[in-house]
């Protein structure tokens, strides 16, 4: 496979290398240029002498012909892209000065670099993930021209209609702007290799044209051909290189060997090259046979469609053509197609949840939002650097007086800031890489193999993006403060320097910055603290059932499991087969010696959906979490019945209308007292959008169980209501909890479960399968990572805010040091002076806290609620107190130094 953009990358590297030597080896580069020019002139002189000119005349002619050396040097520098650096006057010396500044102000450097590194890591992480999902090039020849096609549902844009057999055949015939229109379906089949080996494998049933789209030739044999799709053609299979090497031991006579997929014998006709996983993460390919006569319009298997844009056709042109065909289809078949909108988009988007243009925008918004975080942090760092720059006003004034231009001074200070932000960028990238590694490991554990084009690591694009972020941060930190610092007369600055004061008068700007800083911290940080605490608490909560003994599976049934029939009959037939197959699966599993028991549920305990409940006689509604469970689920999960009784088989009969609630439900929804015999019902908003409420039947509570799974994050407790599950009415996917006997490892049973499912009904499809402890670990790690992420961001913002406020307060008081000293010298009461200083600081901090409170309350009202009266009431005063304490502490030091000044010293300074 071709590595896309390799020449562009080598060109970029060459340019960067050339720029690097141009900037950091400037003197050497210029010396080499001059030497090259001298050599040229010498050779020309020798030529002219050979043509008969006297040496002196020849040398003169050669110099004249060559032209002005300095202008050649300048043009040569411009050709190397160094003109910008020439204009700015950036030199290696500036970089060295920047590094020295980092060392000279270690605390400032540490705080700034740490804050920006965290922000850059988050920005890079978000960018990297979204880039990998949405923009990563498909590593195929002209991969950017491979597209996905689908019918989006206008009434439900997030769930495309993939029963598009008839659309596919029509588009393949009529759509000129997409070549080799192809389709595939995902299948899990039982592979049996004669002589031993095999197991359940994921197979792509794909049209032969899919291989033409991929443009990758097999290493052995042939790909699938159109003839293989014809009715009656002998079944064939193409396998991945890794499978050939692994399961087939690299057999050199693999072509022509036969294997069984389920019950059908297939002949191996080809082996694809190493790393080939097209269309997503597949290792086996069989022909997709489509029979339009077997299904009505809007029916057939779920297929994923793709193809290549024809030469010279843009995505927009292809979309226009597809839309026209789609309209004709909607006119011909309004019942099935009126709400469908054909949509064409980059290939990879179909597999990463970009199901609508709105979703694509959401991804972009997240990407931009995460980048904006750095700007907020950079503004904070700028405030810190501002204070440092203010302290260096004298140095700047002297340099200006000695002839340094304003541009030169700003460039030097910008370079210093750039050193700071580049150091943060390097650390930020390292943190991002660690995060990527963690996500890769988590994804591999949770979802198996990732799609073949997703490569979550530090790519050149990501590094370039981070460099861009670092330069932006450098501009914010390094250009704005020096521009203000240098924007005044040299004489004034020098005068102020001679009187040992700082040259920067900040007044209202400074006050506004302090107030804003405190307000943002007070408004935003409590939310973050609250969120991190919630996630951490939720991660620490453990389920109250023997998780380590459970296997969790969720499964559905393949759409084509029953013969085609009109819609309603078809659904009933599928539901009946699903119920029968599920029951058979449970029977087979419970017959296994290692299994203690199994129970179905509409949702696995701990992942129930939330809804509304109404209590009979109370007339009020409250939130509750619902589940439908097998009558013996509580027995299998070792959950005791605290009051009343557990479910019995009769409860699962239609019209029994019984329910069991957990203790949280009993306490929070029903209040104290005896809850057995009380009635509740589920209420839901109707789907017609009018807000009308649809109420379910009244359910009689027959028992109370303890809460045995942790509540979701952001819920202190989740009241739960369980209804008995009737398998005949169960909807796919259905969840199954299997409890192993003591000493039997759940992980070892997963493979056996697959085989049992296949034996029960080959059409059963696992949606999810693993041990409950593995899932629990995934849940805990995910929550903990979120908590850590929020904590890291909060800590860095808090640190920066605190440092910023400290720097600003400290600087404000420091500028009044002489005034304080003189007042003290004139006999003012020190206590009065201190009160004056603190009153001013307290006014600024108070205004900030007040503005923060207003902001927090306004934010919450927009979100619908008043959090200030809830749990936020604990966090808000803490953050406000921290900010006020920091501000007052910052004022204390300089105030004391001011009071300690000797009157004589101050008068002498004056």
């Amino acid at each position: 496979m071709r590595v896309p953009g390799s020449s562009a990358l080598s060109g970029l590297l060459a340019r960067l290398g050339s720029l690097w030597s141009g900037v950091f080896r400037r003197a050497d580069v210029e010396a080499e240029m001059r030497e090259e020019f001298r050599h040229h002139i010498a050779l020309r002189t020798e030529d002219l002498i050979r043509h008969g000119l006297p040496p002196a005349e020849a040398a003169r002619r050669a110099r004249i012909e060559f032209g002005h050396i300095e202008s050649h040097r300048e043009n040569a520098c411009a050709a190397r892209g160094l003109r910008l650096f020439d204009r700015l006057g950036v030199s290696w010396l500036d970089v060295k000065l920047g590094i020295r500044m980092l060392a000279k102000y270690p605390w400032l450097s540490l705080v700034s670099v740490a804050g920006m590194a965290v922000a850059i890591a988050i920005g890079a992480g978000g960018f990297g993930i979204i880039h990998a999902l949405m923009d990563a090039p498909l590593p195929l020849d002209e991969g950017e021209r491979v597209v996905s096609l689908q019918n989006s549902d206008a009434t439900n844009p997030g769930s495309p209609d993939r029963h598009a057999l008839h659309d596919f055949l029509l588009w393949r015939e009529q759509l000129g702007s997409v070549r080799d229109l192809s389709a595939f379906t995902d299948d899990v089949r039982m592979l049996a290799i004669p002589g031993g080996g095999g197991g359940l494998v994921e197979v792509a049933r794909m049209t032969a044209s899919g291989f033409r789209v991929a443009r990758v030739a097999p290493v052995l044999g042939r790909p699938l051909l159109d003839e293989d799709e014809r009715e009656g053609a002998p079944p064939v299979i193409v396998i991945a290189y890794e499978e050939w090497q692994g399961r087939f031991g690299g057999d050199s006579a693999i072509i022509g060997r036969t294997v069984r997929l389920d019950d059908a014998v297939h002949t191996v006709v080809g082996v694809m090259p190493e790393g080939f996983r097209f269309p997503v993460d597949h290792r086996y390919w069989v022909p997709l046979r489509l029979d339009p006569a077997a299904d009505e319009v809007g029916g057939g298997p779920e297929i994923w469609m793709f193809g290549r844009l024809a030469d010279g056709v843009s995505l927009e042109q292809a979309q226009a053509e597809l839309t026209t065909i789609g309209r004709r289809m909607a006119t011909a078949h309004p019942a099935t197609h009126e709400r469908l909108r054909p949509w064409i988009r980059p290939y990879t988007h179909a597999f990463v949840g970009v199901d609508s243009p709105a979703r694509a925008w959401e991804y972009r918004a997240v990407q931009i939002g995460l980048s904006l975080l750095l700007i907020v942090v950079a503004v904070n760092v700028a405030a810190l650097v501002y204070a440092r720059t203010a302290a260096r006003t004298g140095e700047i004034a002297v340099r200006t007086a000695l002839g340094a231009s304003r541009r030169r001074v700003v460039t030097q200070l910008f370079t210093e800031a750039l050193v700071l932000s580049l150091a943060a960028a390097v650390i930020g990238l390292a943190i991002a890489e660690v995060g990527f590694e963690w996500i890769r490991a988590l994804a591999t554990r949770e979802v198996g193999e990732l799609p073949f084009w997703i490569d979550l690591r530090l790519s050149p694009v990501l590094v370039a993006y981070v460099l861009g972020l670092a330069i932006l941060a450098g501009v914010i930190v390094g250009v704005v403060p020096p521009l203000q610092a240098t924007g005044r007369s040299v004489q004034g600055s020098l005068q102020r320097l001679s009187s040992r004061g700082s040259g920067m008068q900040l007044g209202r700007t400074w006050t506004a910055l302090i107030v804003t800083q405190v307000a943002i911290a007070v408004a935003a940080l409590p939310y973050a603290l609250y969120g991190a605490g919630r996630f951490a608490r939720s991660a620490a909560a453990v389920p109250d059932y023997p998780v380590d003994e459970f296997v969790h599976a969720s499964f559905s049934i393949a759409g084509g499991a029953v013969p085609a029939a009109p819609d309603a009959a078809n659904e009933a037939a599928i539901a009946a087969r699903f119920a029968a197959s599920a029951a058979e699966l449970l029977r087979r599993i419970e017959a296994e010696p290692a299994v203690a028991g199994g129970a179905f549920a509409s949702h696995y305990p701990g992942s129930e959906p939330v809804g509304q409940i109404e209590v009979e006689g109370a007339g009020t509604r409250s939130s509750a979490w619902f589940n439908e469970v097998d009558v013996d689920l509580f027995t299998v999960f070792d959950v005791p019945v605290l009051a009343g009784r557990g479910f019995v088989q009769a409860d699962a009969a239609r019209g029994a209308n019984t329910a069991i609630v957990d203790r949280v439900f009993a306490e929070r929804v029903l209040g104290d007292g005896n809850v057995i015999g009380r009635r509740v019902r589920r209420v839901e908003r109707g789907e017609d959008g009018t807000g009308e409420v649809e109420a379910g039947p009244w359910l009689e509570i027959v028992g109370v169980v303890p809460a045995f799974t942790p509540p979701p994050p952001f819920e202190s407790a989740a009241p739960k209501l369980y209804q008995p599950l009737a398998l005949a009415d169960a909807r796919a996917p259905l969840h199954l909890g299997i409890r192993m006997r003591r000493g039997a490892a759940p992980a070892a049973f997963v493979g056996r479960l697959r085989e049992a499912a296949h034996a029960a009904d080959p059409a059963l499809r696992f949606v999810d399968l693993g041990t409950a402890s593995q899932e629990e670990r995934g849940r805990r790690e995910g929550l903990l990572a979120l908590a850590l992420l929020i904590a890291a961001v909060t800590a860095s913002v808090l640190l920066l805010s605190a440092a910023g406020i400290y720097a600003m307060m400290s600087f404000t008081v420091a500028t009044r040091r002489r005034e304080i000293g003189i007042r003290a010298a004139l006999g003012a009461d020190p206590r009065r002076i201190l009160t004056g200083i603190f009153r001013r600081a307290a006014r600024q901090l108070g205004a900030g806290v007040l503005a923060g409170l207003v902001l927090a309350e306004a934010g919450m009202r927009v979100a619908g609620g008043s959090w200030l009266r809830g749990e936020g009431a604990h966090h808000l005063p803490i953050v406000a107190a921290i900010m006020v304490a920091i501000g007052l502490l910052a004022a204390l030091g300089p105030a004391r130094r001011g009071l300690a000044v000797q009157p004589a010293e101050v008068l002498h300074e004056e």
Partner: protein
């Protein structure tokens, strides 16, 4: 001395890449090689040569190394990179297409229209 031909705009890079592709050469050698091959018809302005060389090097199409010249002086020698060879091929193909197209137009007769 043959008639001097006007150097077409945009062809300097192509000529330099071609001259360097014939063997490692220093800056002055590039000038001489182009003059020699064109029979003196094409002369490169000396002032235009070095910016073009540095630009091509900056783009990664050629690379340089210091060595000894024929008169035993230290000289900077240029050679084509893989990207440079690829670019030369593309530029040559483009040029040939252009020559063919213009030639076809110039050879056209009224009865062919």
């Amino acid at each position: 001395m043959p008639d001097q031909a006007e150097l077409l705009p945009g062809t300097l890079d192509l000529l330099i890449l071609k001259a360097i592709s014939l063997g490692d050469v220093h800056g002055y050698g590039v000038l001489l090689r182009i003059e020699q091959i064109s029979g003196g018809a094409l002369t490169i302005q000396q002032g235009a040569l070095y910016p073009a060389l540095y630009r091509l090097e900056h783009q990664g199409l050629i690379e340089s190394e210091w060595g000894k010249s024929e008169n035993n002086r230290r000289a900077k020698y240029y050679r084509l990179t893989r990207a440079g060879r690829r670019r030369l091929g593309e530029e040559e193909a483009g040029w040939n297409r252009l020559v063919e197209a213009i030639g076809a137009v110039l050879r056209a007769r009224p009865q062919e229209l």
